[in-house]
């Protein structure tokens, strides 16, 4: 019987299936961070349970860590307790930890692939919704709650119900200035934030095939913003090349065996999808979000929408609420929106290719005088690579702050936050009310668009830079 990529990975990890379809699924890779794990380890201790396979879990503090100099430790008491707790838990249960001052430390979804811990065809989970990122390598990866983290630690499995198959085909080729961030924003804008609920989405089509693996990560990363359980992209030669010689990648004979397995990871040509959406790349422009939901997207050349034109009453109410929160008026030009802050980073856009693209556009220019801007590399190794390439100097010379790696202002758990009514062009993934700081106003954009906004001081068209 023909199968989708999701069907294949699912079947390959089925430990047990109950009559009602509830399955016990094996977890190959488990990522752990400081915020969603303390209660899970505590649960194990209370019940006297052990971690079944400590080697299949990798831990790193990322959400709570300061991005300024941290050689003297973490000053925020509660954050320090969480990071210390992670360290103690890893020691007690024998789990590999990249600690705060380890050069490999970084955002959990960036270091997993970077180390080769993430691998095609695996089931990967983490107590973080952006675990979907790893789907870019053809792994079934999704976020879980803390009770489930505890379940994985104790059993190396998860209780799951199979999702339905959804394929999004992005056809054609991307116009100039349009990146994978715009592609995923377009997809979310098209299907809505609940459009993927109950599904695993496979991204396919010429555009996806032509993206680099890092660009694909941006797409899968935001699959959760469309409500899907996971996003998937079939591995190809680029994927295999990416994993070659990574520290935790298979070696020698195992590498040959692994590659042979990875090459079988694709949806059969006659596989059946429960839902399918086609998007033509030529219809995608550089996008920004205007509201407080990732589906509130608009081309940079467009206007803030008028809620009066919305037929659905609930949606209209939500739009008015968003506009009030965002301090925007219907029908104003997007390019007339003035910004205060710029944030480049996060598991969505904090990788070396993102920084290279941004630096290329920024080179020799300055940020607007009334804007403050920061770059937070996704990991210590991304930071190091960027510094070797002189990218840090480009940012610093332009007026950006060059920070230490972590989640930072994507969710503002550390000091990196917006003040009330401050407006930010951000390469992160969520524009929810209060996400980047109480009252803070977030516009989601690609790294190129963030640079354009930094230079002009207004949301601006990346195609007009250079």
């Amino acid at each position: 019987m023909s199968k989708t990529l999701y069907d294949k990975i699912w079947d390959d990890h089925l430990v047990h299936k109950d009559n009602d379809g509830t399955a016990l699924l094996y977890v190959d890779r488990h990522l752990v961070h400081e915020v969603t794990s303390p209660q899970a380890f505590e649960g194990l201790r209370i019940q006297g349970r052990k971690v079944r396979k400590p080697k299949l879990t990798l831990a790193v503090p990322d959400h709570n860590v300061p991005t300024t100099d941290r050689s003297k430790g973490i000053s925020d008491k509660q954050s320090k307790i969480q990071v210390d707790t992670l360290r103690n838990n890893c020691k007690e249960f024998g789990i590999n930890l990249f600690d705060v001052n380890d050069k490999r430390q970084g955002i959990v979804h960036i270091i997993g692939p970077e180390q080769g811990f993430t691998q095609p065809g695996t089931v990967i989970v983490c107590g973080d919704s952006h675990t979907a990122t790893h789907g870019a390598f053809g792994s079934l990866a999704f976020g879980i709650g803390t009770s489930e983290v505890e379940h994985v630690l104790a059993t190396q499995t998860l209780i799951q119900k199979k999702s339905k198959n959804f394929r999004v085909n992005v056809n054609g080729s991307l116009p100039a200035g349009v990146t994978s961030k715009d592609v995923i924003l377009k997809i979310i804008g098209t299907i809505g934030t609940a459009g993927g609920t109950g599904y695993v989405i496979e991204f396919a089509g010429e555009v996806i095939r032509n993206l680099s693996v890092e660009q694909r990560m941006t797409i899968c990363n935001m699959t959760i913003e469309a409500g899907a359980r996971a996003g998937l992209i079939a591995p190809d030669d680029k994927t295999i090349e990416y994993f070659k010689d990574r520290p935790m990648s298979p070696k020698g004979e195992n590498w040959t065996k692994a590659v042979a397995h990875w090459k079988k990871l694709f949806s059969d040509s006659d596989a059946k999808f429960d839902k399918e959406v086609n998007i033509d790349a030529k219809d995608i422009e550089p996008l920004v979000t205007w509201g407080t939901s990732p589906q509130d997207v608009c081309p940079i050349t467009g206007e803030v929408p008028d809620p009066e034109k919305e037929k659905d009453k609930d949606r209209r109410t939500a739009m008015y609420r968003s506009l009030e929160y965002m301090g925007l008026k219907p029908k104003m030009k997007i390019s007339d929106i003035k910004v205060d802050k710029i944030f480049i980073g996060s598991c969505t856009n904090g990788r070396i290719e993102d920084l290279r693209l941004a630096a290329k556009l920024l080179k020799g220019k300055k940020i607007a005088s009334d804007v403050s801007a920061m770059v937070v590399p996704g990991s210590g190794l991304v930071k190091k690579q960027a510094e070797e390439e002189g990218i840090d100097k480009v940012f610093k010379n332009a007026g950006f702050e060059w920070r230490e790696p972590g989640c930072s202002m994507c969710l503002g758990m550390n000091e990196d936050q917006l003040s009330s009514k401050e407006r930010c062009a951000s390469t992160s993934n969520r524009n929810f009310e209060g996400r980047q700081g109480r009252g803070g106003r977030t516009h989601l954009v690609s790294p190129g668009m963030a640079v354009a906004a930094a230079i002009k001081g207004y949301l601006s068209d990346v195609r007009e830079i250079n």
């Binding site: 430990v15 047990h16 009602d20 509830t22 016990l24 094996y26 915020v35 969603t36 209660q39 505590e42 649960g43 019940q47 349970r49 079944r52 299949l56 709570n64 925020d76 509660q78 307790i81 969480q82 107590g127 973080d128 919704s129 675990t131 976020g143 879980i144 709650g145 803390t146 009770s147 489930e148 505890e150 379940h151 104790a154 059993t155 190396q156 499995t157 209780i159 119900k161 934030t193 609940a194 609920t197 109950g198 959760i224 409500g227 899907a228 359980r229 065996k257 692994a258 609930d314 109410t317 939500a318 969710l411 503002g412 758990m413 009330s420 969520r430 929810f432 009310e433 209060g434 109480r438």
Partner: protein
């Protein structure tokens, strides 16, 4: 985990769609290493102004809704982050049942791990129950019968049998899965041969 059998309460209605987990419990409260104590911070930015004072017009700040055990909400409730702090905060506040036209996937699963019943019913039915919220009349949720009783009427709801059983019996998932260790071992042994690189 506390069993969920029947629940009677005046429901509180927050008629917003896409209530995300950042709204339910903002980031500054995720620094805890405990599961308890989050109730006072539930819907923090809707409940308290910037000086920390209660906002009078927010429904959960007013009696009898400050004691509601049942929450009615717009579609796609619980979207966003996987933080289990969201159901912990609801539970700590006293809410054990959320009724919405749809839920985000991770939040939905998290509910069942905390003895919270998420019920999916259509918008029209939510509006009907909302009248009881306005009139400050109790409604009753009976999980075993899969019905919501309101006034002298009732409506039914669907739930997966396995999830229903877990709530009714307050079962510990990990304990249940640990009984399947022989299956897990068998799987691991086979995997070590077919996929030795894992």
């Amino acid at each position: 985990m506390e069993k969920f059998i029947k629940l009677k309460s005046i429901p509180a209605h927050i008629p917003l769609m896409n209530i995300d987990t950042d709204m339910i419990i903002p980031k500054q409260f995720l620094k805890t290493i405990k599961r308890t104590g989050l109730g006072k911070s539930l819907f923090y930015e809707m409940r308290y102004d910037e000086s920390g004072k209660l906002i009078d017009k927010f429904i959960l700040n007013n009696d009898p809704y400050s004691k509601s055990k049942i929450l009615l909400a717009g579609k796609n409730f619980g979207c966003g982050s996987s933080r289990e702090h969201a159901p912990w905060a609801l539970l700590d506040f006293g809410i054990r049942c959320v009724i919405s036209p749809s839920f985000a996937d991770i939040f939905f699963n998290n509910c069942f791990n905390n003895g919270i019943l998420p019920i999916i019913i259509d918008e029209k039915s939510i509006q009907e129950l909302s009248e009881y919220s306005k009139r400050k009349e109790e409604i009753e949720v009976d999980l075993n019968e899969q019905v919501i009783l309101y006034g002298n009427k009732k409506m039914t709801f669907d739930i997966e049998p396995a999830k229903k059983k877990r709530l009714l019996e307050g079962l510990d998932n990990i304990g249940l899965s640990l009984k399947k260790i022989p299956n897990i071992e068998k799987f691991e042994n086979s995997m070590s041969k077919t996929k030795p690189w894992i």
